[in-house]
């Protein structure tokens, strides 16, 4: 009975979409995912990931080290702030960014005086994506740091290693799999972000649309098949991520047991 529930909820929709997309033939599918608008959307999505990922990795690892290795009074607050994005709706993220960076907003001088558009520009999409993916790297790296412990770092210190040497050669390799996992989650989430970006983007095809925005646009315009084709592509990406995620998890478990 449970299997029937899962079957109807999960598997039926996937099979249906695949069937609807590929029934007219692979050629049409390929046409719809290689239009100029689609290529530009792909470029924008990949660009956003390329900016969000390094920032989240650097600051995420820094935050994780701070949370695990240091004692200070605001630690609980820091932990709560890191977890905050999970409780915030993507639409509210968009509203917050508009209220802060929009031309009528608190930091509106950035746009008005410096001409640097955040809302309705790529930086807005980047900021929204960083917001929603902020916790991932931290929450995957922190427990690993916790488990690995400080013995190796201490040993390195007694052998005369300074902070940076210890960090590069001892700490970073030990969090390898945790970091990889966090990276996978961040990338998947950034590529799939919709609610936040629809608020802060000007949503112009060929210019400021991410892949998800293009799907929405095509559906609204009545280009239903095009929307489904692109959705299938994104679904393929999602399934790939699921597989990569599982592989990383398995490797991680194995690494832990050695």
């Amino acid at each position: 009975m449970v299997l029937a529930y899962i079957g109807v909820m999960l598997i039926l929709p996937v099979i249906l979409i695949l069937w609807r997309t590929f029934r007219p033939g692979f050629g049409q599918f390929y046409d719809w995912i290689s239009t100029p608008a689609a290529i530009s959307a792909l470029n924008l999505s990949v660009l956003v990931v390329a900016i969000v990922l390094p920032l989240n990795v650097i600051f995420g690892v820094m935050t994780a080290i701070l949370l695990v290795r240091n004692r200070f009074r605001g630690r609980g607050v820091l932990q709560a702030v890191v977890d905050l994005p999970f409780a915030v709706s993507p639409i509210i993220v968009g509203v917050a960014l508009i209220l802060l960076w929009g031309s009528a907003g608190a930091l509106g001088f950035v746009e008005n005086d410096f001409g640097f558009r955040i809302i309705f520009g790529a930086p807005g999409i980047v900021l929204a994506s960083i917001f929603v993916t902020l916790p991932f790297v931290v929450r995957e790296v922190a427990p690993v740091l916790q488990e690995v412990g400080t013995e190796q770092e201490q040993a390195a210190a007694t052998l005369g290693s300074n902070f940076w040497q210890t960090f590069w050669r001892v700490t970073l390799p030990s969090i390898g799999w945790g970091l990889t996992y966090g990276v996978v989650l961040t990338t998947a989430r950034t590529l799939g972000e919709f609610g936040g970006v629809i608020m802060v983007s000007s949503n112009l095809p060929g210019e400021s649309q991410t892949l998800t925005l293009l799907v929405n646009d095509r559906y609204n315009r009545g280009a239903e098949y095009g929307a489904y084709a692109l959705s299938t592509l994104l679904m393929g990406v999602a399934v790939t991520f699921l597989i990569v995620k599982t592989v990383v998890q398995v490797r991680r478990k194995r690494a832990r047991q050695t």
Binding site: V2, Y5, M9, P13, V14, L16, I17, F59, T63, L66, R69, N70, R71, R75, Q79, V81, D83, L84, A87, V88, P90, I91, I92, V93, G94, A96, I98, L99, L100, G105, A106, L127, F131, L134, R139, E140, Q146, T150, Q154, A157, F163, T166, G178, L191, G192, E193, F194, G195, M199, T212, V215, N216, Y228, S231, L234, M235, V239, L242, K245, Q249
Partner: protein, 300 residues
């Protein structure tokens, strides 16, 4: 001791960092100071707080600022307008219905995944996370394909509340399952077998022994499910159709307000939604913590 508002700071084994296990917190760091030289720690703390402020705190503060900027009158007007109240009603009804549904079926699914064996189980286990990995707009279209006009199962749920419920159920499907699974895996079967040997029937064992120990995990998953439903936007967009009073959820109303340049209104509704999410999460975490502590005392 650090406490996450979601109650979970370790155990990524549960794959999904969004899930919380009540009662587990990061222990305090060891006394040795290896990566924690005083000078560099202050600098790193400063940089980290600056980053977090810029990305998370300032935007949220901007909402608060805007919401109260117009005074209490404007705030109240915004959240008590007819459309806002209707949107709240639709959102909260859907969230409660879907969360209760998930509590039952999520628990059952976790049970089947842990206690039963069938071909393809490992594959299914991986695919439970599909709703997490799928972009919400794709989910929306997928739901439309199955439950919309050309539905192969004959259900036409577009522009109806059940359509919204089905989409939300899809998106939150993994939450209770993944919260319960690890706990179920760890349960000591000895107690169950002991009860059975003392003459307790199957259902009695279930209700007196197994379910109480799963309750914190179920509640935790339910809290996450509820929060997600309240906040959801992308997946209900096409199948819901934003029919005011029937399928327009609060997040859609917020968007409508912003597009009509009613920033105070949008901020006000946002504050309400955030408060609901936070309250539910904290409440369930407290409840879950209390239940877990009671279980520990009983087991001791």
């Amino acid at each position: 001791m650090t406490r996450s508002i979601l109650g979970k700071t370790s155990g990524p084994e549960a794959i999904r960092p969004e899930l919380a296990q009540p009662g587990s917190e990061l222990p305090p760091p060891p006394k040795a100071r290896t990566l924690s030289r005083p000078g560099s720690a202050s600098l790193r703390f400063g940089v980290t707080m600056l980053w977090l402020s810029l990305i998370v705190l300032l935007p949220l503060a901007a909402i608060g600022w805007q919401a109260v900027g117009g005074g209490w009158q404007a705030f109240w007007l915004a959240i008590s307008s007819h459309a806002a109240v209707e949107a709240f009603r639709v959102t909260l009804t859907a969230s409660v219905v879907v969360t209760v549904f998930n509590m039952v079926f999520g628990l059952l699914t976790a049970w089947v995944l842990v206690r039963d064996d069938f071909p393809g189980k490992a594959l299914l286990d991986v695919f439970i996370d599909l709703p997490f990995a799928l972009p919400t707009i794709v989910t929306s279209l997928v739901m439309l394909a199955v439950y919309g006009k050309n539905s192969p199962v004959g259900l036409h749920l577009q522009h109806t509340p059940p359509g919204v419920w089905v989409a939300l159920a899809f998106v939150t499907l993994p939450l209770v399952v993944r919260a319960v699974q690890p706990v179920l895996l760890e349960i000591d079967r000895d107690v169950e077998e002991a009860a059975a040997s003392l003459g307790a029937s199957g259902p009695k064992v279930l209700t007196s022994i197994v379910l109480p120990s799963l309750l914190p995990a179920v509640l935790s998953g339910a809290g996450l499910s509820f929060s997600r439903c309240v906040a959801e936007f992308g997946s209900v967009v096409t199948i819901g159709g934003q029919v005011p009073g029937k399928t327009e959820v609060s997040s859609q109303w917020i968007r409508a307000l912003i597009e009509n340049d009613d920033r105070t209104g949008a901020a006000a509704i946002s504050i309400v939604l955030l408060s609901i999410s936070f309250t539910v999460l904290i409440l369930l975490r407290v409840l879950g913590g209390r239940t877990a502590r009671r279980e520990e005392k009983a087991a001791a």
